[in-house]
Amino acid sequence: MADMKALRNSACVVGVDESDEIGTLPGKSQLTLHLEAVTNAVRDAGLKVSDVDGIFTAGQHSPALLGEALGISPRYVDGTTVGGCSFIIMVGHAVAALHHGLCDVAVISHGESGRSGVGVSPRRDTSLTGQFEAPFGFGGAPTLFGMITTRHMHEYGTTLEQWAQVAVSTRQWAMRNPKAARREPITVADVLGSRPVVYPFNLLNICLVTDAGGAVVLTRADRAKDCAKRPVYVRGVGEGTEHVMLTQMKDLTFSEATRLAGEKAFRMAGVGPHDFDHIMLYDAFTSGPPIMLESLGIAKRGEGVRHFAEGRSTPTGAASPTPTRGCTASSRSSRRRVSCAASAASVRCRARSSRSSTAWAACSPPQARWSCRASAARSHRPALDTPAIVCFDGSGWSSGRLPSAVSTERGARASWLRR
C-alpha cells in the first residue's frame, strides 16, 4: 500500500490571507469574498493569479466558477464538499495533487457571506433533513450539537460549568487578537447567565457567523524558495468521515471521523497524539474541543474538559494533564478568533455540516515546536464530526512572517441566534 509518509514535507503553505474585511459585510457578495481572499493570498506568496493552476473550493461556488471569475483556466480542480472541514481536507488533496504534478500552484479558497447572505443561493432542505429532522423543529447546528452534549453529560457527568470554561478559556485568546469579534473577558457565570438558546447551550456556548473569505496557497517544496515568505511545510494530513445525519453517528460522544483524521495525520507526520506543544481546536460549540481531544486520543474519554479547567488552556496556563509537552488546547473560532495569525495554522476553514474530519500537520524541519489546531465542525448539520487538526511548525510562527489566518467566521452572531 502506498504510504503517505512519502508526501511528508513535500509541499508547503506559501501564502495565506483573508478577504479585505471580515465581519458584517452587506456590500460584498460571497463571490467577492472568495476573490479578495485568493488575490490577497497569492500576493502574500509573492505570486500572480496567473501562476495558479489548481483551484480547490467547497460550498456553493464551484472551483470552475472561481477559475472563470479569476480569468484563469486551472488544470486541476477539487470541489470536495463535506462540510466545514472541506477546506482543510483540501490541504491534503492539494499536497497529493502537487506531489503528482497535477498542478504546481494550488489555491484553496473559502468565501462565505454567512451573516449577510449576499449572493448566496437559498439553502434547501435535503430529502433527509426535510423528512426526518425539520418536522420536529430541528434547524441549524445548535439543534444538533446539543444532542452530543447532553449525551456526553449523561455518560460522563460533564457539567454546564465545565463546558462554560471552554468559552472562558478561548475568549482569553481572543482578547489578544485585534481582529477578534469579541474581546471582552467573560466568566463561567457570564456563560451560564447568557440567554438560553437550546439547552444545554446558552448564547455564549455557541459560535458566531461572519461574512469573510480566506485562502491558502500551496506549492511543492522545490518551488517554495521562489516565494515571498518562509514556507510552512505540510508534515501530515488526514481526513475521515463518519456520518451526515446525526442519528447515524455510532457513538454520540466520540467522533470516529476525528479519530481517523488524527490517526492518519499523526502517522504521516511521524508523531503521536501527545507530541504537541500547542493544539488549536475549532470551538464552534463549547463541547467540541473537549470531545475532539478525546477522539484524537489526547484526552481520555470523558476527560477532555479537564484540559480547560482552571485556566489550563488560556494563554498563560501552560499545562495539560496529558503527557504532552505543555499542550495548550486553544481555539480560535468565529466568536473569538484566537492566535491564528501567529500560527499559520490559520488555514481555518469553516464549516457547514460536520461529518468529516481532516487533520494536517506542517513543519519546517528541523522542527522546533509544534502548533496544531483543529478546525471542526461548524456544522450546519451535526457536529463533532468535522474537526480538522492542523499542526504547524513553530519556527514559522516565531519568525512572525506568517500571514494572518484564514478565517471566515469572526463577527457577529449567527442569524439563528438573532432575537
Binding site: 432542505d125 430529502s127 433527509l128 426535510g130 423528512q131 426526518f132 429532522e133 425539520a134 418536522p135 420536529f136 423543529g137 430541528f138 434547524g139 441549524g140 445548535p142 439543534t143 446539543g146 444532542m147 452530543i148 447532553t150 449525551r151 453529560m153 449523561h154 455518560e155 440567554r195 438560553p196 438558546v197 437550546v198 439547552y199 444545554p200 445525519m245 446525526l246 442519528t247 447515524q248 454520540l252 439563528w416 432575537r419
Partner: protein, 138 residues
C-alpha cells in the same frame, strides 16, 4: 387545523411506506431481508450487508431517550409552536435511532434524562401526514 410545523418534504419513494404507515398509526421500520438488520432512515441498500432486498416491520413504538435538547427559540420559519419545546433523539427498542419531539413532559432539564423510557404517540397533522412523537413511558 392550522399546521404548526414544517411538513415532511420532499417525501421520497423509499420512505413512502414509513409515511403511509404513520397515517394508519403504525410505526414501520425498514428491515433487511438478507441479514435481518433493522435500520432507519429508509434507504435502498442495507447499511450492514449491502443487500437490496428491504422489507418493513412494525415497531413496538417503545424506546429510550438517547439524547435531548430544550429549544428556547424557533429554528425554522415554519415552526409555530411556542418555545420551549423538547427536541429528542430516540433509540427505538428495535435498534435504530430517530429524531422526534418529547411531548407530555415539562420542558425542564430536571424533568428529562437520557435513557428514560419513551413510547410513540401519533400526531396527525393533515390527512396525509402523521408524525411519530414520543412521550415518557411509565
Amino acid at each position: 387545523m392550522e399546521i404548526d410545523r414544517p411538513l415532511p418534504s420532499p417525501i421520497t419513494p423509499e420512505a413512502k411506506p414509513f409515511w403511509d404507515g404513520l397515517r394508519e398509526q403504525k410505526l414501520l421500520l425498514p428491515k433487511c431481508k438478507a441479514c435481518g438488520h433493522v435500520f432507519f432512515y429508509p434507504r435502498a441498500v442495507c447499511p450492514r450487508c449491502s443487500a437490496r432486498d428491504i422489507g418493513w416491520i412494525q415497531a413496538s413504538g417503545r424506546g429510550t431517550l438517547h439524547a435531548f435538547e430544550i429549544a428556547y427559540q424557533v429554528f425554522n420559519k415554519a415552526w409555530k409552536i411556542k418555545p420551549p419545546y423538547v427536541l429528542a433523539m430516540v433509540e427505538l427498542a428495535e435498534g435504530p435511532r430517530m429524531m422526534s419531539n418529547l411531548v407530555n413532559v415539562e420542558p425542564d432539564p430536571r424533568a428529562i434524562r437520557c435513557d428514560m423510557p419513551v413510547r410513540v404517540v401519533f400526531s396527525k397533522l393533515t390527512d396525509e401526514i402523521t408524525l411519530p412523537l414520543f412521550e415518557p413511558a411509565r
